[in-house]
Point group: C2
Chain length 344, copies 2
């Protein structure tokens, strides 16, 4: 987010792509409600508060948001620009690309069961699937997202709503769930009314059968139960909520110089080994690197200057937000300069 | 101030020396009441607000303050430590010294008149002089500090206070003063009552005479008046308030590698060319350097890690204030660890 701010001060408009469905990355996702004490000038704030403060700060520079999608491709163009494609098929052509990331993209943890990839996107989902009317749905997971989803589906079933599934099973490795008390109470009530089944077990393998349209269909999960027995759980749809974890993902395939899992950058410019691609935050490495938020603020700033110089072909001297009318106009705290009447 | 914070997180206690009589340096002095828009996570704050936020943040690490004094000497000791002396004769022996500065120390602008240095500290002052009872005092300057000081002295004279001077003259190059309206009104009223003289003119040279104790004494200022005439202004004491300006001062004499007026540092450690001496802020230079407050936050952080490694002789891995009980104890947000009963 601070990269957007510093680019804004350079008069450069940003598009933000994030695998998460909301802004804030690791700060929002890993310590949204936990205190941070070392942001300079902010004795304490939570991760989410920091995100909100930064969102307020970048408001004048209104970036274009492309959330819930991951950059899947980054290809050099003959004119020196980069063509970028996302998992949602967004395409962008840019002179500068800033990889402002931690370990990588926060993506849902996937199931590690042999043969599962054949069904991912059709019968197996790591988010809400499409319509589930009349289907046997298994919701997999032990935390709030799984519990909340199972309650929603089972409530539809209990109330005989037209889009209700045929059955709802909440599958977790053990019969203990981590969710707010009111959700746990609803879960017990739905279980008591038989609108919801709860199964404790681990998926060992999949059962599939030839599908009516040709490709095989997932028909059941083979489970190992806590008592050592096995159980076959038929289903049409599996929704797994196993948490999210950061993964480097396609960044490793773009041919950028790396050291272990970090992108090597020049600490004077935060440029990677590819012209026009910069890296800031925990994902980069340089002599003396410390993985701290406040260091990433510095990195984003120097990267913005460096990109602005590369784009303009000129040396750019520091201007100060305290004194520069131009920066204050960009920030919206001074009225924009009136264009000269002579200019078209 | 953020250097104190980062040292505190490393368990290192700091002494702060500043030429100004208050904390905050350039932020407090040059843009105390002006807005800053580019502190990460703080959409807008004044320089003084930033200082107050940082003072709140470093509270757990209570540094020792040595204000209103400048480091005058820095000498390497045989054991690798540095012996530091200030203009107030404070002496400190330290393993690490952090030059966390802008252009240098903020010191009062001095008069540029031939022969003046012989009287500085005795009859010529750049701050309040000692007792002025019965003396002819000239206050020199056009801004609020000069106006306020002239009012104080002239009021004592008007009220026939026992410590009142014999006369008060406010000298400025022109008869226009930059001070709040209520002070300007008081000035006019004191002038009307003849408790205060106002003279517009520039000092061209000094008149001196042999003093009763041997060394010559300043007896009068020779002035060039706006109409081209000259005037001789007798006096006992001159107090000049000509603003303060940052000056590199003795830093240039410590043998540290410099580039123009900046200290060369290694951007991985922010070490200068002398072991144990670090430089952060506008006073340093390295490839890509941008003179921004937020960059200095990063620099101070890496300097603290670097010093802590040099002192301990060990590699120090990053700990996070969000998760580290040790850091939270240092910050005072977790109770201090109870010492084991076995330890003395």
């Amino acid at each position: 987010l601070f990269q957007v701010f510093q680019l804004g001060l350079q008069g450069i408009k940003a598009h933000v792509i994030d695998a998460l469905p909301h802004a804030g990355g690791q700060c929002a996702e890993l310590y949204g409600d936990k205190p941070i004490y070392d942001i300079p000038g902010i004795p304490v704030c939570t991760g989410q508060e920091l995100v909100e403060r930064l969102l307020a700060q970048i408001k004048p520079f209104a970036p274009d948001w492309h959330l819930g999608q991951q950059v899947s491709q980054l290809a050099a163009q003959p004119d020196g620009r980069w063509l970028l494609a996302t998992t949602q098929r967004t395409h962008l052509l840019a002179r500068s690309v800033f990889i402002a990331a931690g370990v990588g993209a926060f993506v849902p943890r996937t199931l590690k069961v042999e043969g599962i990839s054949a069904f991912e996107g059709s019968q197996v989902h790591y988010h809400h699937s499409g319509p589930t009317a009349g289907q046997h749905v298994v919701v997999h997971g032990g935390d709030e997202p799984a519990v909340a989803r199972a309650i929603t589906l089972a409530t539809a079933l209990q109330q005989l709503q037209p889009d209700a599934p045929a059955s709802v099973t909440l599958l977790h490795r053990r019969d203990v769930f981590d969710a707010p008390a009111d959700l746990l109470a609803q879960l017990q009530s739905l279980k008591a009314s038989a609108a919801l089944h709860i199964v404790a077990g681990q998926i060992t393998h999949l059962h599939a059968a030839p599908g009516p349209l040709g490709p095989p269909q997932l028909t059941a999960l083979q489970l190992a139960l806590p008592d050592g027995s096995t159980h076959t759980l038929p289903l049409d749809t599996l929704e797994a909520y196993l948490g999210i974890s950061p993964r480097l993902g396609p960044v490793a395939e773009w041919g950028l110089a790396m050291d272990k899992k970090q992108l090597q950058v020049d600490p004077a410019t935060f440029a990677t080994s590819a012209p026009g691609i910069y890296a800031v935050g925990d994902i980069n490495t340089y002599p003396g690197k410390r993985k701290l938020i406040l260091c990433a603020f510095h990195e984003a700033t120097l990267a913005a200057y460096s990109a602005a110089e590369a784009i303009s072909g000129q040396k750019i001297t520091v201007q100060y937000t305290t004194t520069s009318p131009r920066l204050q106009q960009l920030l919206g705290v001074l009225p924009a300069a009136t264009p000269s009447p002579a200019s078209p």
